[in-house]
């Protein structure tokens, strides 16, 4: 067999486009990088990476605690370090419509030792088995994302493996220019000694640090290899404190994690496809655009539509739209958005079943012909 050795193939009349082959043998066609490993489709291991889906609310104000606040699948990790508005923003780079935005509303310029603020994403373990982690054939991963902030500097970040005592891989990115969208990539070598369990638990955690106290900055920060994690080594002491000033903003979108050693163009998926994927982790009875807990009849779900007003024990069930990751934590709301009660009858409920595919409740002895109220089901990490 013959081999043609060439770095680039072009049309005879132009130097634009064509096929380029770099020294590692990776191929670009008309400037677009091709994958170096894995499939051509379904490459992105991150759900909702374009921040299209925000089931809970598009804007959460006064955020001071950890949780899923706005866009689906991205968790805020906040411990006593400032107050934020966390939202689904329409400020985005070309080719995107949304981003996840943190805005400081109460600053913390001098964090205590254990304080922290970060954004996190978790990949389910069974979705990572093709990486062959824990074997000699462990595959590299490449993370790419768009980011923008008015706080410039070099930020610390981590990958962590929950199945291996939070073994971590630190990486940094730099905001070079304030208030300007910048595209960042990092390639993570495959971990040949850390097995990711084939289950529905947390496989990989990606953590974008935005601020940290000395418990996380006092050690030796080292990037570029998998290592046992010590909290003190998690963040560089020179990493910016995003929480330092009211009004500071940090945006992220276009988050893509893929097998291989190069970042390929973002794999845009339809809104419907991303929403369907997010249902594995969070579902609600409200219409998509209605925030959870809103003062509205919109979320009202009829567990039972009866024909008799005779006093009797009544209840009902919900067959969930898709099987969830685990049996979900479930909450109920009346029309006013009060947690823990339903609208008809105006009472508390008792769960009978909270399973990955079904929720069932009863309300006891009631003359109400219907049993109705809003609900949420949460199976996030």
């Amino acid at each position: 067999m013959s081999t043609i050795k060439v770095n680039k193939i072009e049309n005879t009349s132009t130097t634009d486009g064509g096929i380029s082959i770099d020294n590692a043998g990776h191929v670009q066609i008309d400037g677009q990088q091709l994958p170096t490993a894995g499939a051509l489709s379904h490459r992105n291991l991150v759900m909702n990476g374009a921040m299209q889906v925000a089931q809970r609310t598009t804007s959460a104000t006064g955020v001071t605690t950890t949780g899923y606040k706005s866009v689906d699948r991205f968790k805020a990790n906040i411990s006593a370090m400032g107050t934020y508005t966390i939202s689904q923003s329409t400020d985005a780079p070309d080719g995107f419509s949304n981003s996840l935005k943190y805005e400081v509303t109460t600053a913390d310029a001098s964090p205590a030792a254990s304080d922290q603020v970060a954004a996190e994403y978790r990949v389910e373990a069974q979705d990572l088995q093709h990486l062959n982690y824990g074997s000699s054939s462990a595959k590299s991963l490449t993370l790419s994302f768009w980011v923008k902030s008015d706080v410039t500097g070099t930020y610390s970040n981590e990958f962590m493996q929950a199945d291996n005592s939070s073994k971590h891989y630190s990486f940094s990115y730099t905001i070079n220019t304030a208030d300007t969208w910048e595209h960042k990539t990092v390639t993570v070598e495959g971990d040949t000694s850390g097995v990711i369990n084939n289950d529905f638990g947390e496989g990989l955690l990606i953590k974008w640090w935005l601020g940290a106290g000395s418990n996380f900055t006092s050690g030796t920060y080292s990037t570029g290899s998998w290592a046992a994690r010590t909290a003190a080594n998690a963040v560089s002491s020179s990493s910016p404190n995003f929480a330092s000033t009211v009004g500071n903003e940090w945006y992220i979108t276009g988050v893509q994690l893929e097998v291989g050693s190069v970042a390929t163009p973002f794999e845009h998926r339809s809104f419907g496809e991303e929403l369907a994927r997010c249902y594995r982790y969070f579902q609600k009875s409200y219409s998509y655009g209605t925030a959870v807990g809103a003062n509205t009849t919109d979320g009202r779900y009829y567990f039972l539509i009866g024909t008799t007003s005779d006093a009797a024990n009544k209840g009902g069930s919900v067959y969930l739209g898709t099987n969830m990751r685990v049996a979900p934590t479930t909450n109920f709301y009346n029309d006013a958005g009060t947690q823990g009660v339903i609208q008809i009858p105006a009472s508390t409920v008792t769960p009978l079943l909270l399973k990955t595919g079904v929720i069932a409740i009863y309300v006891g002895n009631t003359t109400s012909r219907e049993v109705a109220g809003a609900w949420t089901a949460d199976a996030e990490f």
Partner: protein, 50 residues
């Protein structure tokens, strides 16, 4: 906000009183894991309504 829990009339669930959410006893549920940690610290949930 300090965590506190209450047992329910049916076995297999506990109610988190801070937000009134019901947590199933599923080892993969992170809220259940948090409840187990809370128990390990020596705390006791409130009894179910009789």
């Amino acid at each position: 906000m300090e965590l506190n829990y209450k047992l329910t009339a049916e076995d297999g669930f506990v109610q988190r009183l801070t937000d009134k959410a019901f947590i199933p006893f599923d080892v993969g549920n992170v809220d259940y894991q948090e409840y187990l940690d809370w128990l390990e610290e020596g705390n006791t949930p409130q009894p179910a309504d009789s």
